[in-house]
Every structure is written in C-alpha cells, then in structure tokens.
Symmetry: C2
C-alpha cells in the first residue's frame, strides 16, 4: 500500500470571527494550506471537508462543492463528511484511504464551523445536542455538558479523580494556548479561577468547558511520490483508526472510559506498529477537562484512573513525559466543532517540523491525534511521524 | 486493484411513513440488505450513510454511529457523508474506494431521509434550499423548483424542448412506478393531467416535480473474495466517477447541461472501459422532469438537445432503446433525498439479477446510476454489470 503524507497546513485564528462568513473563513485556511504546501489549487484532485452542522447553524448544507468552489478547487470530487465533533478527523481518514486506494495523489482536507453569529438556531447548545441521541437524551433535556458531567461523576466516584485535577487540565491548556497565536484564549488562568467559575453541569464549571468558536483548518495530503515532489518536510501518516459506540450514554458498558477511543487507538497503533510508549506527544479531544483525562487513559498513556494524578504530577505539560495538547487543546485554542480534527493535524505538523516556537515540545518525532464525536459515539485516531 | 461487488440490497417502501421514525426506517432497510446478502451484522466491517439534512429535518446529526448502532453494527467505523441529494451516491463511492484500498472487505452503505413529520422545520422547501447557495440564491428567494425552472427555460429556449416532452417524462416514470411495489406513486397519469396540474415554478407544474418522501435504502458491498463467498449473483461495480460545480447557477458556464454530470460520467466510463452505448439501462436523477432530459444528454445517451425528442419517441421506455428509470425514478418511486443514490443501486441490482418482475428490462447486463446534489453542484455516476 502507498504511503501518505501531510505536505501543507493552514488554519485561521479560532474565536468569535464576526467579520467573516463560513465560506470566507474556510477560504483563508485553504489558501494558507496551499501556500504552505507550495502547490496550486489546480494540483488538488479531491476535497473532503468535515463539518458538524452548518445546516442548523447557518442554513447551508452541501459544503463540499460550495467550499471547493470558493477555494478555487474547480469541478473536482468534493464532499462533506460528518460525525459530530469528529467530522474533521473523519475527513482526514477518508482522504488518507482514497490516496491509499490509488484514486488520488493530492487531496485537500478541510474542517470548518461557524458557531457564533448564527441566524438559524436559538442557541448553540440546542444544535450541539444534535450530536447526542435526540430521542433518548436531547429531547428529554440532556445537554452536552450534562453528558460529560455524568462521565466526570462516574470517574470521580470510581477513581477518586478530583475537581482540582479537572481544573489543572484547564490551567495547563490555557498556559499552552498563551503561546499559540491562533488560539481563542491566550491568557493563563489559575486553579482557583476554574473552581470559582459558575457551575455549568455539576461537577463541570464554566472553565472546564471548551468555548463556542468559529474557525477553519485545511491540510494537504499527498501520495509518497507527490510528497517528495512538493515537500522537504513531509509528515507521514503511520496509522489511522476509527470506531463507533452508542450515542446514548445509558447503552454504554462503562461511563469512565470511551470504548470507541480504545478501539480506534488499537487499530491506529497496530497499523503504525507502535504502542503508546512510542508516541512523543498528542493532541486529544478535551471538549471538557474530564474528556482529556479519560482520553489519556484510553489511549494507553496512563492506566485507567491514572489520568487525574498524571496531570497533577505535570506529566502532560509541554516539558512533561508525554505532552498533551501543547497547542492549547480545544479548551484554549477553541473548538469550532467540525474544524477541530483538522486543526489538531495542523498543530501536530507544526510540532513535527520544529516550527511550534514557544510551545515546541522537546522530542517531536512521533505524534498522535484523537478526535471524538458526541459523548464518545465516534472516535478517530491518527499517528504521525516526521 | 481489488474488484468490488454489491452482494445484498434492501429498501423500505418510499412515501409518507408516519408510523416510523428515521432510525426505524433505516433499520428495516438494513435488515433486508443483510438478509439478502446472507451475512450477519457481525460480518460488516464499516458503515457509510448518505443523508442530506436530518439536522434540519429532525434535529439529529451524527447518523453514522446512531444508525450503525440501531442496525446492530456494533463499534465499527461509521460515518455520514453529505452532498445534498447526492449523499447516497457519495456514500456508495466512499465504501467502494475503501474496499479498493484494502481497508475493509464487507461494508454497509445506507441512505436515509425523513422529510415528512418534521418537528424542526417550518417547511421542507426551506430545508431543501440549504442544498443551494444560501447567500446568493436561497436567502434572496430562489427555491429548488425555481432553480430547475431556470434550467428548463434555458433548455426550451435553446433546443425547442416542449412542456409536453417534460410531461412525457412524468407519464413514463409513473407508468414504471406502477410496477414497483416500493414506489410512492403507483398510478398512471396522462400528459393532460401533468399540463393541467398547478404551476410550481414556470414552466414546471406540480406533476413535473418529484415528491417529498420518507425512506431508507441499504446495500452491502464486498471485496472479490467475500463476494464469491457470500453470493451467487454478485453485481460488480465497474466504474465510479464524481465531480463538482458551483452551487450558484449564475456562476455556471451553461444552464442547459450539468458539467458535473459530464465530468463524473467521463471518469466512470473511463474506469469501466465503456461508453454510453455499452449501457443497457440507467437510473438517473429526475428530481424534476427537465433533470431527466438533461441527464440523458449529459450521460451521452442522446446528443445535446436530443433528450426531449428521445422521450417523445419512446426510446427511454422500459422496452425502449435505453430504458431510463425503470424503477419509476425519483418522480414516481419517491425522493427521500439522502436515500435516493442508494435506492438507485437497489433498483439496478434487482434488474441485473433479473428480479425486477413487471418492470424488468429486456437486456440487463450493464447499468448506470446517476445521482445529483443541488442543482448540479455535485454529481456521482456508477457503472455496474452482473
């Protein structure tokens, strides 16, 4: 099978981008990725874009063809893929597989969401609820913070994870975000501030939650031949894994772990012929602080129940044993839901190229991205090396 | 590269399915496809589902994981793909490419839409408008029938296509639908009735338009080894092609032809090493009567401007030179938008197996499906043989 590399990356600043429409935001990211790859819009053979809910947010479906056209990718195969907040990671995986299939040599992968300034939804929380089970959860009042609060409660009950440990995830990710010029939040916060912030869904406070964001990201994938033609610093995709689980939490075997993450990681590790110990750093899906702790356990970096203690001991800091979310993560970088999985790849590529400046991790040879949809019904994991 | 076959098909009756929810509708189609393939839910390795707008219709995104779970496809990679009304065809193409890539051997492809009984939209036309360009078309009042009316006007002006010829498409497809037990409309209509039906968007009358439908379809794709293991009547996918165009009509080079269809067909014909003359019959995207006429020209069955005359001469009847939409097409079979591209495959497989009963075409060795998103911004074409 053919090898596949990332040869170009681009992303907009994440945040409340009131001055730009969805198509404008994506086009900025796409142009940056094309310039970074040193290739022309006319070289791109196909386009995959991850987006969760432009239909509900701005009344626009059919983003594949729309954004391809706006980015100057005329007449090529273009499609949107969706798996709630994992949409970006799924788009990456589809592009990767179609290059492996020999169908294309050069593909653009996009991720986009415009969540503020939405004329079509009364509130963003309702739209995000469309990622949960409408009949069994959303309709009867469960919100997304509520779903993760249940996970947090179960984790605290079983393993003794503390609210302070959750807060430490937010503190670390804000510290990292301060050094990321494209992050939505670029200020440090304290444990006390997290604990004192208003309760959203007990035990999660406002500063345990990732923000509502606008943003776009794009990466260019290439077959081995094309990668060598266009790039001196290709970043290789060594493995890709995806899995699913029930949308509704009540159908899960366990609330303290996401089975879809464990299965997706197992596939990605097997494909890459690696284990968790071989990964130098990771961008994981910290939509809530508890989600990062659970992810670091499910990905095998720490034993079940060990994620809280690991944060407390500083193991996940930029200079720790296994840096987690050196970009600031969803918590501080921002979480335009469909864009997140692609933005994680942008962050990983910057690190593996040694271009992450103040947030650069010491050892950056192999990296992992972990993108989750809903409260864990979709998970997709990729492993990269320079 | 590995060969890929369709080994099982299933679909619900199309129509107003007031007694069933989206997930129930899809599960019925999935079970029928599994039974038809003779394989178990546990044999399926991945799931792709085409859906245009469950978010706007029923407030539910994240259909990949949701429907996989409901169909008993536990924990496997599951994702939704979207390209407006071409979503089903795109799902088929992704499954096909990932089997070619060697990633999977047995994949379920689904298509689903629940358009009636929608608690979330004021009217279906608004939601369907999300397939057009929100900023340049829908927002300023263009509806979908309006977009195709512009195409019809241009075609009539340039080629002399008549309202009677448009009506003949509807009459033929209703005649075919009468013989399809799963069609929404199973009654014949006359040219006079079509011409006398109320104008929706001049020159398109009510009976020139496909209906609003609920429905689901599912097919099982297999690698060559698995196809031979499970099936005595595999239907091979010989070629797949996809292309895109601008969403907004005003940016197109020409209104009388869909460039995306021409490009997608060219790719599919090249891959299959065939031309239009080698195709025995086709299921094409007749969301409006004019769309079938334009499609038969763009697919190369008739010369540009010859589609109207061809219908008039009976060339596209079930016993004609090149039967078009022997299933009844979108017009009579129904058009649950995300399901259509997969339902076309169900119809083609029934014909190629010789199991189409009263609607069986005489020569059924090779067939083509043509699925369009929006007013032509996405097109996907597949070629099949028994």
């Amino acid at each position: 099978m053919r090898n596949v590399a990332v040869i170009g990356v681009g992303m907009t600043k994440f945040g409340e981008l009131w001055d730009y429409s969805l198509r404008q935001i994506f086009t900025m990211a796409a142009i940056e990725a094309l310039e970074d790859a040193g290739c022309s819009n006319r070289d791109i053979e196909a386009f995959y874009v991850g987006n969760m809910s432009a239909g509900l947010f701005i009344g626009q479906e059919h983003l594949g063809a729309l954004l391809a056209d706006n980015a100057g990718l005329k007449n090529i195969p273009a499609m949107r893929v969706e798996g709630a907040c994992a949409s970006g990671g799924l788009a990456l995986r589809e592009a990767y597989l179609t290059i492996k299939a020999g169908e294309y040599d050069l593909v653009m992968v996009g991720g986009i969401e415009k969540m503020s300034d939405s004329p079509c939804t009364e509130d963003v929380t309702t739209t995000l609820g469309a990622a949960a089970d409408q009949e069994w959860e959303t309709f009867v009042g469960l919100t997304f913070p509520g779903a993760y609060a249940l996970i947090a409660k179960a984790h605290m009950e079983r393993y003794g994870t503390t609210k302070e440990q959750l807060a430490m995830v937010a503190v670390k990710n804000h510290k990292n975000g301060k050094n990321n010029p494209k992050a939505q939040f670029r200020r440090e916060i304290t444990i006390e501030q997290v604990l004192a912030s208003g309760i959203v869904a007990d035990p999660l406070s406002l500063l345990d939650c990732s923000p509502i964001s606008d943003g776009g990201a794009a990466v260019i994938l290439a077959s081995e031949d094309m990668a060598k033609k266009f790039s001196d610093t290709p970043v290789w995709i060594l493995g890709s894994g995806q899995a699913s689980d029930t949308l509704a939490l009540h159908d899960r075997e366990d609330l303290t772990s996401l089975k879809a993450t464990r299965l997706a990681a197992e596939k990605a590790y097997t494909a890459a012929n690696m284990g968790p110990k071989d990964v130098n750093f990771a961008e994981v899906h910290d939509c809530f602080t508890i989600a990062e702790i659970v992810a670091t356990e499910d990905l095998g970096f720490f034993h079940p129940g060990g994620g809280g203690k690991a944060v407390e001991e500083g193991l996940t800091e930029v200079d720790g044993k296994i840096p987690i979310n050196p970009s600031g993560g969803l918590k501080a970088k921002g979480h335009p839901v469909g864009a997140t999985g692609v933005a994680q790849v942008v962050s990983v590529v910057e690190q593996l190229r040694g271009e992450a400046h103040k947030r650069q991790v010491n050892r950056a040879e192999t990296a992992l991205t972990h993108n989750v949809g809903g409260s864990g019904a979709t998970a997709v994991v990729h492993i990269f090396s320079r």
